[in-house]
């Protein structure tokens, strides 16, 4: 056999071997994109905020693809609409795993929906960054595969009561929508008020759709609290502000968790939105790595300002990418171990978790709507404006 023949045979043999190896592990084909699956609340009461989160994810994927993807493969994002319903999300994540054969998954919008899909992730053994599940009760012993990618719900509006108390506020009313996230926040703020020695003069929970906010507002008006804290999502955040105005009551401090940060909030309320306090896990002037570029790229891609939901979605992609590149693998167990052991710098701050997947690195700052625009009012070193009180309510 001549050397030429030998070379030809070797070339054939190696070609066939490569072909067989691709056929044996079709998921590893270099030209096939890495499929990342998630659901988002494109419809339903969470749609306004979930859109920002999804946009953040899309930007993260776009940026990764512009740099060649992960492990030399492009990324493809597969999104289904969970209609803001936990049951629908469980069905769709099952579909992503069993039918779409997603390589990687990212969590949905909201704590309640994540709470529903978290057991599925533990069962199917998918290491999932949860960008919008702030309630700590998901990340408890027994949870191995869900990683909190956002500040805990216990920290929402946490900074307000000490500040108000320092400025002489003594009484508080706390309202909470009946959902996993808002109820966790509701309980935490009541407990915090009591620890600070402030009197909780009114507290109630309510459900969507469209409860009679007028009666709650009237009851709060009669209780005359200095601070009103609403553990809300967008629709009830708007409804409560309108109801307070209708009953002619403007508390000195009026704060709501989710809602005021959405651009639609100011559009729906006009001047009534001025003075409303809320919170954010990210702001455009944060000194975190990549924050400036994130803001610029997001604005260019979506023609809107990003908010902390966008930062959380964007951060989840970055964290997942770091884990894939760090392990040089799509192996879920390797990714899980890596996520437990490593810290990833994100625009929200450092992603790091404890043994149960609970976030240890993120925090919340306060924002306030002033002259129709959101202004960061804490922490002091980054604040764009001073907190204005009392809430004008007109």
């Amino acid at each position: 056999m001549t050397n030429t023949h030998l070379l030809h045979r070797l070339a054939w043999a190696s070609g066939v071997a490569m072909l067989l190896s691709f056929m044996a592990t079709p998921g590893q084909a270099a030209d096939k994109p890495i499929l990342i699956g998630a659901t988002s609340s494109e419809t339903g009461p969470f749609a306004a905020d979930a859109e920002y989160n999804l946009n953040g994810m899309k930007l993260g994927i776009e940026e990764a693809n512009a740099k060649g993807g992960w492990l030399g493969r492009k990324l493809e994002l597969k999104i289904y609409d969970d209609e803001s319903k936990p049951g629908t999300a469980v069905r769709l994540y099952t579909r992503l795993i069993t039918e779409d054969k997603a390589d990687l998954l990212i969590g949905p919008y909201s704590s309640g929906i994540t709470q529903a899909i978290a057991p599925l992730m533990n069962k199917q053994q998918y290491a999932v960054v949860e960008p919008e599940a702030s309630i700590p009760t998901i990340y408890v012993p027994g949870n191995k595969w869900n990683f909190q990618g956002v500040a805990s719900s216990l920290t929402y509006l946490e900074g307000l009561l000490p500040l108000a108390n320092k400025n002489g506020a003594k009484t508080v009313a706390v309202l909470g929508l009946k959902s996993a996230f808002t109820l966790a926040c509701y309980d935490a703020r009541i407990k915090q008020a009591e620890q600070l020695g402030m009197k909780v003069v009114y507290k109630t929970t309510y459900s969507l759709p469209e409860p009679d906010f007028a009666s709650m507002a009237l009851a709060i008006k009669n209780a005359q609290p200095d601070v009103v804290l609403g553990c809300t999502y967008y629709p009830d955040a708007v409804g409560l502000v309108k109801a307070f105005q209708a009953q002619g009551f403007a508390p000195k401090y009026f704060a709501e968790t989710v809602g005021p940060v959405a651009a639609a909030f100011t559009k729906a309320l006009g001047p009534l939105a001025n003075g409303i306090i809320s919170n954010t896990g990210w702001w455009h002037n944060f000194k975190t790595p990549g924050s400036k570029e994130f803001t610029e790229h997001y604005k260019a891609m979506f023609k809107q300002d990003p908010d902390y939901h966008s930062a959380a979605g964007y951060g989840a992609v970055k964290v997942l990418g770091a884990a894939v590149e760090g392990t040089k693998s799509l192996d879920q167990d390797k990714i899980r171990v890596w996520l437990h052991a490593n810290t990833v710098d994100t625009v929200q701050g450092p992603f790091k978790v404890d043994a149960n997947g609970l976030s240890q690195g993120f925090s919340q700052s306060l924002v306030q709507i002033q002259d129709g625009h959101l202004k960061l009012v804490t922490p002091e070193d980054l604040a764009e404006a001073k907190l204005l009180v009392p809430y004008p309510g007109k």
Partner: protein
Amino acid sequence: MLAVQLLINGILLGGTYVLIAQSLNLIFGVMRVVNLAHGSFIVMAGLFTFWLSARTGLSPLIVLPIVFVVSFVVGALLQPVLIEPLMNQGRRAELLSLMVTFGLDYVLVQIALHVWGADYVSLPYLQSTWTFGAITLSKALVVVGLFAVGIVALLYFGLNYTSFGKALLAASQSPVGAACCGINVRRVRLFAFALGIALASSAGTLLIMILPMAAESADNLTILAFVIVALGGLGEYAGVTIAAFLLGLAQSLAGYFLGGDAANVLPFVILIAVMLLWPQGLRRAA
């Protein structure tokens, strides 16, 4: 003073409920059709009003007659195609109409989602109050309540004191008898459906001033309207008005004394109680 404020809140809430419910009731009364697309007409009108007002700066009260006329025409176009063919189906008509209007509801919600998106919206209109001593009246709530009651009052007088209204009532009580008296029942049904849709749409234009609303609110509004109509008695105009105001008052009191959860669940508790005690509705029980 607290009692007066609670009473006013309840009446104003009841005023909006009257308009939401009477339009459903009108269609049922004349055609025995429970319009499951009721809420989606309310929502479409609300979202359209928001869209038009936000773009043109037009007051929603100016948009109101536009919405009324457009939705009347839409109703008049839909009725011969979707509802009228069911009318000669005998006993099957009610079940078939449920299926047809359920399908219509789905189509309308999808159109609303496609055109206006899924976000909750609300118009910042008349956001100030009148204060009389300890009593506070939201201008938006008062205007919405007055318009709602005014529209329903016009409906009441139209039904009872005009020849066409009397024909409509006659057709709802006995279609065969009305036809024997020379009433064009087919035309009456067309008019009633179109008017019902126009009234539901008017409710949407008014509600967007006081409530955040999204495409997905449609089903909840249909259920609310159905609860009120069931309380008042299907086809009973006075009974439904009374039920709407009673429910508004009850929710106002429950919300104040028992909190938001109680106010939410109350309509259904009352409905179950009334169905057990007076299954024919409040009006016929009185």
